[in-house]
Symmetry: none
Subunit: 200 residues, 2 copies
Amino acid sequence: MKEYSILTAKEQKAYDFIVRYSKKYGKYPLLIEIAKGIDIKSKGVAHRYVKSLEKAGKISRFSNKHRGISIVEKKPIFLKSLGSIAAGGPIEAISDQQRIELEYLFTNKKSYALKVKGDSMIDAGIHDGDWVIIEESKKFYKSKVHVILIDNQDVTLKYIEKENSEEIKLIPANKSYKESTYPIERISIQGYVVGQVRIY
Amino acid sequence: MKEYSILTAKEQKAYDFIVRYSKKYGKYPLLIEIAKGIDIKSKGVAHRYVKSLEKAGKISRFSNKHRGISIVEKKPIFLKSLGSIAAGGPIEAISDQQRIELEYLFTNKKSYALKVKGDSMIDAGIHDGDWVIIEESKKFYKSKVHVILIDNQDVTLKYIEKENSEEIKLIPANKSYKESTYPIERISIQGYVVGQVRIY
DNA sequence: TCATATGAGAACTTTATGAGAACTTTATGA
DNA sequence: TCATAAAGTTCTCATAAAGTTCTCATATGA
């Protein structure tokens, strides 16, 4: 029995048929119709494919019901809007535009997430235990928080400034911490923070 | 058997073929197709390369499955490991468990998102422009940040304490702001903060 | 010479696919 | 309600194709 979600050729064909049928007739097909639709004669075999599709999460089924199939819609990451809560307060509902922005943050192939330890960036609103979303970059920007690899060994989150042609200054966002200066060759910029997430 | 991740010439050729094939056909190749693709005749040898690629972390496999190969993306949505970046720094990689937690945060049916205006909760790490994920609740908890509707009109984010049987105290997380007390009938608790997101 | 990389191909195991019988459950009409 | 037809479920049997493991063999460089 299958344990993964890659479909075989026939499973894919069966799935495609179910989608086509339901769009055309507004209802889901019988097993015997699926069998005919994928050029086989046995409804038992059709049933086997239907069970595989269920296991793969492509459809859901109501056991024993006639036409007891339904297609599973993929649910994207999205957030519901505010609904009944009145506007005008210190919070506002999220627009579709912002929703897309958020979706991008989590699906962008060039970014990855790191969990923060320590509080050296607390004044930038990045707390111990938060996650930061990093976009890869070799360059640095004055206003962004960067992921920096020091001596190919230690990783840290800091603001960056160019001290002179051979040195770089790393600036924490916490008054209890000091700035530090490193020669360029000891520093490797990994990327910068594009997002931050906290789970309570 | 190999213990390191440098590919031999033929392994690289096999990997390149798999990438090309999957882009061209939208599915992964059979062993015999890989063999042909790298100019050899033995599917047994192709299998040996495929196993090496798996060991090197370039692909993953579903044993015995036809076309049971898939290419490992270097940067999945939520990074599995830090790669060359050593541990011990102030950040750490995210585990699958945490990834599920995050996914839940955004797909949970009972929660919604609000955008924060103002800085009354800044000491709790909730800044102006952040989004907070709210889980609906009529009850309140001393340690949680709540969404509160006042006089059915104004919405605010505050900590809550019970002052006495008829009054409730709303506590901001910002020393510049004062606590305020309201009679219970003017207050409606909407939910509490379970997550927070910031886009830079 | 020894370890490694490479290749062929046989032998074996597992998967993918199909037919269809036998049985259970559902839908439906009298 | 109840009988019956229709649909869903489970099962065995079968076969081709694909994956896996293995031995044998050659070449090459340290």
